[in-house]
């Protein structure tokens, strides 16, 4: 019999913490290897975590709704297998399957392989004890738990003492904060690390204090979810990082619409899902990005990082919040491949079956606010990218063609771009390429 420690898994390279949503077992319960032990939520995905071993749950160390740093021990299993600190394994990527249009079917997954024993956590160690005084000060100063967990401590066992915390606050005030140890992002690929890592702009406010200022029943106080907090932070940071400029182009979608209607039935029969405008737009974007590679880059100080791959992010509004799954290596996909990839990602976003690597590493993002009937939108860049394309609603409008008035399906496409490196000429040219491509698709296009 030996003890296995289950730790909070690191589901994505830039993730540093996870929230326990639901325990499926309690102490004393038997569990089989790969049986679901708990569900966790991170700022990007929710995930079921399978047990790394078979045995009996001996300890559950954190309650539901608690947020803990990755690699924190969260449970213990008594097992016959050899003892080790085993990371609770993240579910493997699901097979890309045909989805029935209406069903939200779970794709069957290959059996989970246990993760290799986690390396000894570098200081600051996860699961450190914070004294009442340190927590009081952190609360008063609006320092989040995740911020606290990254601070080096000079107390016993690397504990953050009051002195350490006050020193940090002082350094932060004077802008001399030393680079904090953030092991996950240290190993992240360069294009992820390019955005300056600014600490959470969100100050925790105690609802007890708010209730006096905003009394019920006239007011209701809600706690922002993790995803919402991360979205808040990202949006503020993006605007602070990139000087946003927009180029709005009118696009005659009539040709696209004709092709779509002509092929809709056969496509749906063949693929099992509806043919939308999105694959056409993705296809046009990819071609334009190949022509204007600077729009598919990121910024590091005084350097521009050009990417020789296109990871296309498609914004999806899910009930959890705004999520942007990414089609990796979209430049390799043909029309059908794009259509399948976009459909699959959207479906799995809505059923919360995305794998963390699927929401990372994007080089360009498309957001379709036309579905909300928005005519023209001004989107915010998805850092660390340098541009984002927003597509408005397609509406029939009178337009002038060859000095005559015709009724055409028209959409307004907005490119928000980072004027640190993309200027109006480039932005305009890039958009012209997209519009030209879409407006000139041949009617007999085979898709």
């Amino acid at each position: 019999m030996s003890k296995i420690e289950v730790v909070m898994p690191q589901l994505g390279e830039s993730l540093t913490e996870g929230t326990i949503v639901k325990w499926h077992k309690k102490p004393g319960d038997k569990i089989r290897k790969d049986e679901t032990l708990l569900e966790i939520s991170t700022d990007k995905v929710d995930s079921e975590i399978p047990s790394p071993a078979s045995g009996v749950i001996t300890k559950i160390l954190f309650d539901e709704q608690k947020t803990v740093a990755v690699r924190t021990v969260i449970a213990e299993i008594e097992t016959d297998e050899a003892s080790a600190v085993v990371g609770a394994s993240a579910p493997p990527p699901p097979d890309v399957r045909k989805d029935k249009p209406s069903a939200a079917e779970k794709a069957p997954q290959a059996p989970a392989r246990p993760a290799p024993a986690a390396p000894p956590a570098p200081a600051p160690a996860p699961g450190r004890f914070y004294s009442p005084l340190v927590l009081s000060i952190a609360r008063e100063e609006g320092i989040s738990m995740s911020e606290l967990e990254r601070l080096p401590g000079t107390g016993e066992g690397g504990r953050v003492s009051k002195k350490d915390l006050l020193a940090y606050l002082d350094a932060r005030k004077h802008g001399t904060v030393p680079p904090v140890q953030d092991t996950p992002s240290a190993s992240a690929p360069a294009h992820q690390a390019s955005a300056p890592r600014i600490e959470s702009a969100l100050k925790h406010v105690d609802s007890g204090d708010l209730v006096k200022k905003y009394p019920a029943p006239a007011h209701e106080i809600l706690q922002m979810s993790n995803i919402l907090m991360k979205m808040s932070e990202h949006m503020v940071r993006s605007v602070q990082t990139s000087p946003h400029v927009q180029a709005i182009h009118e696009c005659d979608m009539t040709a696209v619409d004709r092709i779509r209607r002509k092929n809709a039935a056969a496509f749906e029969k063949r693929e099992g899902f509806k043919l939308t405008f999105m694959p056409f737009i993705c296809d046009a974007v990819i071609k334009a990005l190949k022509q204007y590679p600077l729009v598919n880059s990121s910024v590091e100080g005084d350097k521009i990082i050009l990417k020789r791959f296109i990871n296309l992010g498609i914004a999806v509004a899910s009930e959890n919040g705004l999520i942007v799954p990414v089609v990796k290596n979209a430049e390799e996909k043909n029309f059908t491949g794009l259509a399948r990839a976009v459909n699959d990602l959207a479906a799995r976003t809505r059923t919360r079956r995305l794998v963390p690597s699927e929401i990372e590493g994007g080089t360009f993002t498309i957001t379709n606010f036309g579905v909300f009937n928005t005519t023209i939108g001004i989107p915010i860049i998805n850092q660390p990218q340098v541009a984002i394309l927003g597509t408005g609603a397609i509406k029939k409008r009178p337009v002038v063609i060859n000095d005559a008035i015709a009724i055409r399906s028209v959409a307004y496409l907005t490119l928000s771009f980072d004027h640190r490196i993309v200027d109006g000429a480039l932005g305009g040219s890039f958009m012209n390429a997209i519009v030209t491509h879409l407006e000139n698709l041949p009617e007999d296009l085979v898709i």
Partner: protein, 325 residues
């Protein structure tokens, strides 16, 4: 004008001057008259105040306490002496059941003082070195004081004599001749129930009394050379405890070390630790720790007594460990 007296001289002076001021104050104890007291606190008193006011009692602590209680009820102000604090156990019933409870039952005050020479470090062995204050902490109706300096010793004795309640006055035998300090002339009172911050600091609070104050101050000086500033709170009174001063200090420093010579289990330190846990929980950056003698009788052999008693080095080490937490 201030001059230096030893701890024992300050006690004698306070006693003498209060007896001169108030004719109802009288003394009762073993060997205090002709012999001048086992430690010579009352040398010359018989000659000055006569046998009526300096009573050589029988060797029976119950009788001493009982007689003092009766005299206090009759309107006098007795200062009884236990030759060694250890012997209070023979007068235990009188103290806890009569002296402490009388006023609750009959509304008649019991303005008596019991002087108790306590403490070790004098090779007195298990029956002559005890610090029994914790036994009485637990008895409602008594006040308890424990001065650490000559100035406090005189002032607290005066306050104790003037207090209408029974007051146990613990005087530390080792400090008798090892503690010297400035003592103001004339009569003055040190308020009962008020602690004294003998040294201010920001890094750690040491809460203590009696000999512990001296160990703490010396350890604090040594630590100050390394940039650590300890605050030393001299309780002076054990009942009532000055909770306000204790909590204010711990909230300031976030770390509390309680030091006393009495055995650790159930000692005064345990009560103080509970007070701190309840009143300063969110201000604590480290657990509340106590440094005290182990749970054995006081040894007689010198090396054993040295190992048994706290001292400057032990206080310093305990402080350093708490600071490292």
């Amino acid at each position: 004008m201030a001059r230096e007296l030893t701890y024992i001289e300050a006690i004698s002076e306070g006693l003498r001057e209060e007896m001169r001021r108030d004719p109802t104050v009288f003394l009762i104890g073993e060997d205090i008259g002709e012999f001048g007291g086992a430690f010579k606190v009352t040398r010359g008193f018989l000659e000055e105040f006569s046998a009526e006011r300096v009573i050589d009692s029988v060797l029976a602590e119950g009788a001493i306490i009982g007689a003092a209680t009766g005299a206090a009820l009759a309107g006098l102000r007795p200062v009884a002496e236990m030759q060694f604090a250890d012997f209070i156990s023979n007068g235990f019933n009188q103290i806890v059941n009569i002296s402490a409870k009388y006023h609750y039952r009959n509304f008649v005050p019991v303005p008596m003082v019991v002087r108790l020479p306590s403490g070790g470090g004098i090779r007195g062995g298990p029956f002559h070195s005890v610090n029994p204050e914790a036994w009485f902490l637990h008895v409602p109706g008594l006040k308890i004081v424990a001065p650490s300096t000559p100035a406090d010793a005189k002032g607290l004795l005066v306050s104790a004599i003037r207090d209408p309640n029974p007051v146990l006055y613990f005087e530390h035998k080792f400090l008798y001749r090892h503690s010297r300090g400035e003592v103001a002339e004339g009569l003055y009172e040190v308020p009962i129930g008020k602690a004294d911050v003998k040294r201010t600091g920001t890094d750690l609070t040491i809460i203590t009394y009696h000999a512990g104050v001296h160990w703490a101050l010396e350890a604090a000086s040594a630590l100050a050379e390394h940039g650590i500033e300890c605050e030393v709170v001299d309780l002076r009174s054990l009942v009532p405890l000055d909770r306000e001063t204790i909590l204010l200090s711990v909230r300031k420093t976030g770390r509390a070390l309680i030091v006393h010579e009495a055995n650790i289990t159930g000692g005064v330190g345990a009560e103080i630790a509970a007070i701190i846990a309840a009143g300063a929980f969110e201000h604590l950056d480290a657990p509340v720790r106590r440094l005290a003698a182990p749970d054995t009788p006081v040894p007689y052999a010198a090396p054993l007594e040295e190992a048994f008693l706290p001292n400057v080095a032990k206080v310093r080490e305990a402080a350093e460990r708490l600071l490292a937490y």
